[in-house]
């Protein structure tokens, strides 16, 4: 329970007008510089001493759970360790302070970073090229669907306006489809939690634009017939889109490109150790097969050899001898997706992570991510339902359905009980097709000891649920606050502080 002195009033409720920190020399008064009617009359913001600012946010941070705090098995989010070397590299002044409108000749190192990363991703995932432009996974989905739309338009098939998504798909998939005016067709998974090519065949047609899938799917299961599914979609004239949120499962083992995907995104903030930062910023490179390269967002980084000729290398090439340019002049491009070229600081982090692993290392990463997830599944399958109890990939879905029936304790309650034990909760109630589900993704950076401790905690909670369900229903009690009145939050929205009248 928070102590009185650790209560954290809003920053607006503290401070005194004029309690200024001396960061800058003193400027002339604003009204000597600009016409009065251009100026605002009032700026009702607080003045706090730097000390009070530090204390305020230090306390807030201590009431925030991160990977650095403890195990964070949040399915679909790949909460792996964020190496501190990445942050140090992103903080190198020459790169950190580079202006996007600096001329290319003064930005060669930054362009080399982008180019090296792009080449690494293309090789790792079997795509012809990536654009690093989109700011997150959902943003990349939008870019990809705009590419698809442009592609079909150019091909003279503008009628293709249906996006097929399995019922296990993430919410961003249909939402992105809607943003390009596509209709969404939700496809039911089969009894094994997979997409059945025969079912797919029933729904594809001349209006099929794109089929969006992820593999392993959001149940953590590999789609063994993905190749057949892709064939079906391709035969119907559609494109296959790979949602890369689950890319941590397959690096160096199989590639979306080899599975038959034409488009894909990556959540660099998942697989490539970019700190999630409370939910962003992330980065969502969008990758395409050869026939779609021309449609990528602008700008793209182009490389030139020592001879000044454009490089057409595909694999990994040492960048030191090359020169680079940003290419904005791409007539078929869908155009830019955002203000500037990329979430560049995160490209640095992702490339640092590639350096730290190399191809072999990334392959091992995926293998051990799968190992950790299976280990947890195998260790709790006797106490929770495992709707698809088979070898999973980097994550798996358990269910509290039986438990709920027996005891009234739901997935949500297990989540809260885990918080009380000092763990973050798994993702709950996603994917939508498994009732009372807990989606558990440990990632490869966790040690066996950590997994064992988590398994023990979860088993103990389930045991308590059976012996004394009220205790579990009353959780959390060890956290800064207890369960929150969400209804009130939504019914009487209080989304900001207001100055007292």
């Amino acid at each position: 329970m928070p102590l009185p002195a650790f209560d954290t009033p809003l920053i607006f409720e503290t401070g005194q007008e004029g309690r200024a920190n001396c960061y800058l020399p003193e400027a002339p008064a604003l009204d000597t510089l600009l016409p009065k009617d251009a100026l605002r009359e009032d700026l009702p913001l607080p003045d706090n001493s730097e000390l009070d600012v530090v204390r305020h946010f230090t306390r807030l941070s201590q009431k925030t759970f991160g990977i650095d705090t403890a195990f964070y098995p949040l399915g679909s989010c790949t909460m792996k360790y964020n190496p501190r070397i990445n942050d140090a590299m992103a903080n190198v002044p020459a790169l950190r302070d580079l202006h996007p409108f600096a001329p290319d000749h003064a930005a060669q190192g930054a362009l080399a970073v982008m180019w090296e990363l792009e080449r690494a991703l293309a090789s790792l995932f079997g795509m012809a090229a990536f654009s690093l432009n989109p700011a997150a996974g959902a943003h990349a989905e939008l870019a990809a669907l705009l590419i698809a739309k442009a592609y079909f338009k150019k091909k003279g098939e503008p009628q293709r306006n249906v996006v097929i998504v399995p019922d296990t798909a993430h919410g961003t998939n249909p939402a992105s489809a809607a943003m390009v005016g596509f209709k969404v067709l939700s496809l039911k998974s089969d009894a094994q939690g997979r997409v059945d090519p025969e079912e797919m065949r029933k729904v594809v047609g001349p209006d099929t634009a794109v089929c969006m899938m992820t593999n392993p799917n959001t149940l953590g299961l590999f789609e063994p017939r993905i190749h057949d599914v892709a064939d079906v979609v391709h035969e119907a004239g559609g494109l296959m889109y790979y949602d890369g949120a689950n890319a941590n499962a397959l690096m160096g083992n199989t590639r979306p490109g080899d599975m038959g995907f034409d488009l894909m995104h990556l959540n660099l903030h998942k697989t490539f150790t970019i700190p999630h930062g409370g939910g962003g910023a992330g980065a969502g490179p969008v990758g395409v097969a050869a026939h779609l390269v021309d449609f990528l967002p602008t700008p793209v980084v182009r490389a030139f050899g020592a001879d000044g000729k454009p490089l057409s290398a595909t694999g990994w090439t040492e960048s030191a001898e090359l020169t680079f340019a940003l290419d904005f002049d791409r007539p078929d491009s869908i155009g830019p997706m955002r203000s500037f070229w990329s979430n560049f600081a995160h490209m640095i982090r992702a490339l640092a992570y590639c350096y730290a692993n190399g191809a072999d290392g990334l392959t091992t990463v995926s293998k051990l991510a799968v190992l950790n997830a299976n280990y947890i599944r195998a260790s709790i399958r006797d106490v929770l339902d495992i709707p698809y109890d088979e070898i999973n990939r980097h994550e798996f879905v358990a269910s509290a359905q039986s438990l709920k029936r027996e005891t009234g304790v739901r997935a949500l309650d297990l989540a809260k009980a885990l918080l009380d034990r000092g763990y973050h909760a798994p993702t709950v109630y996603f994917p939508l097709i498994v009732p009372e589900c807990l989606m558990i993704e440990p990632t490869e950076t966790e040690s066996k000891e950590t997994l064992d401790a988590f398994i023990t905690a979860l088993r103990e909670i389930v045991a308590t649920a059976k012996s004394d369900p009220e205790t579990v229903l009353a959780t959390p009690v060890n956290t800064a606050v207890g369960r929150i009145d969400e209804t009130r939050a939504a019914r009487q929205p209080d989304l900001r502080w207001r100055p007292p009248q």
């Binding site: 607006f12 155009g335 955002r338």
Partner: protein, 454 residues
């Protein structure tokens, strides 16, 4: 590599799983087996990684130039306290605060961010952030489209060209028409034909930016917003330089119902363009059309103040294709940096900083326009940027400056062919008088006058 597994660990775990080897565990059908070996960078130790980035840094020479670049990405002083706080591991490595009980700190910080943005823009509510200024504009337009059911939007040409380009990218998806309003001789949006344009009531929104891309204060004059609203058209204000909000009339005060923009200037690095942080503020009327996350204040089971993500029925993970946007990951950590920055600067510090920006840009304008052949292209009052007409082609002048280790600004001809003799020059609190003098001297020395058009 960041995997803690010893050989014994792996063996013991495989045994529990009941599989013989790691390879068995990850086996895929032959049909999808790797077609080509993966080629990534060679594996390096940390010390070598640092060495490699040192090379990349050495090839990135822009820092050695005196620079007058802005145009949507601004060099401002970031007090070290911002990094010291924002890089704390709990903030850095947390995810979206879905489990509110263990995320009260971050949730409160975002609630504070929402408040800062609402107060600065003079509007009722603000969201937890969007990707950047350009996508904020696109999302803001979508809000207006959803509010009005109209599929066209009228945008000032003085809105950042990149923002307009992104809007066009999004518009392609949504089948929106994007029409433009010209700018006038004072550098402000030319509103003379506005009434006519609105008459048809086909526009979901009118979009203006202030300070606009030319640095000119371009708030809607008195009465105009009312006229626009009278046609049930939404007024969207764009702010690409958030620092200006500390000085200039709040967009809400001149009629914006939705204000979108970019807050990189508040404590975030330029970082070659990202991550920056977009914001969307709006009147309460538009609340349920706002994209992305919103943090609300509520109470817990014991009646204690508690913060929580709210109004999630707008969002993709609940509403899927019916969501207000597809956004999921946003720019929370950049918003946190901005919040810490604003808290540290305070009202007094922000206003002082804004004033310094105006003063330094005024100094730049004064010193450069004193030079023969150089003039301010537009008349209106400016914040920290000014468009300078040069004798000759802007491109040549900039190239000549680069030879003198100066990045003199941005060539407007890139987007405005009619302004190909114009440079957008930026000065902030980090621009010194010595910097401006260097620029003036360099400009007075370069032989571009020869190339001047007659």
């Amino acid at each position: 590599m960041y995997t803690p597994h010893t050989a014994q660990d792996i063996e013991a775990m495989l045994r529990v799983i009941g599989v013989d080897s790691l390879d068995d565990l990850v086996r895929v059908p032959d049909a999808v087996a790797l077609r080509a070996p993966v080629e990534v960078t060679p594996r390096l130790s940390e010390i070598e990684i640092a060495g490699r980035f040192r090379q990349h840094a050495e090839r990135t020479t822009a820092g050695a130039y005196t620079a007058f670049l802005g145009a949507g990405a601004y060099r401002h002083y970031v007090p070290p306290v911002v990094g010291a706080i924002a890089m704390r591991g709990e903030f850095l490595t947390s995810y979206t605060p879905y489990q509110a009980e263990v995320s009260q700190g971050y949730l409160q910080a975002i609630y504070e961010w929402q408040t800062y943005i609402a107060l600065l823009t003079g509007l009722d509510v603000a969201n937890a952030s969007v990707y950047d200024g350009a996508t904020a504009l696109a999302e803001g337009v979508i809000m207006a489209v959803n509010a009005t059911g109209r599929k066209a939007v009228l945008v000032s040409k003085a809105v950042h060209p990149n923002y307009r380009a992104v809007l066009r990218t999004y518009a392609e998806g949504l089948d929106l028409d994007v029409d433009e309003l010209p700018y006038g001789e004072d550098g402000c949006t030319d509103l003379s034909n506005l009434e006519a344009a609105l008459a048809e009531q086909r526009y979901a929104a009118v979009v203006v930016q202030s300070p606009n891309f030319f640095g000119v204060v371009d708030a809607l004059p008195n009465g105009i917003a009312q006229k626009i609203k009278a046609t049930k058209t939404v007024v969207i204000g764009v702010v690409a330089e958030a620092m200006s909000l500390a000085a200039l009339a709040a967009p809400g005060s001149w009629g914006a119902e939705i204000c979108v923009g970019e807050a990189q200037s508040f404590g975030n690095a330029i970082a070659y363009g990202g991550p920056h942080v977009g914001f969307i503020a709006a009147t309460t009327e538009h609340l349920r059309r706002i994209p992305g996350r919103l943090v609300g204040k509520s109470v817990d089971s014991e009646g204690r103040t508690a913060y929580v993500l709210t109004l999630q029925a707008r969002e993709q993970h609940i509403r899927r294709e019916k969501a207000t946007s597809n956004i999921c990951t946003n720019q929370a950590h950049c918003a946190l940096c901005a919040t810490v920055y604003m808290a540290a600067m305070g009202k007094t510090g922000l206003r002082n900083c804004a004033a310094l920006n105006v003063a330094r840009a005024n100094e730049l304008r004064a010193k450069i326009t004193k030079l023969d052949g150089f003039a301010a292209r537009f008349g209106g009052p400016t914040f920290n940027e000014v468009v300078i007409r040069v004798p000759g082609r802007a491109r040549d002048v900039l190239a000549a400056l680069e030879k003198k280790q100066i990045l003199g600004g941005i060539e407007l001809g890139r987007w405005y062919p009619e302004l190909d003799d114009c440079i957008l020059m930026t000065a902030t609190e980090l621009t010194t008088s010595a910097d401006v003098d260097r620029l003036a001297t360099a400009l007075s020395e370069i032989p571009v006058r020869a190339a001047a058009r007659v």
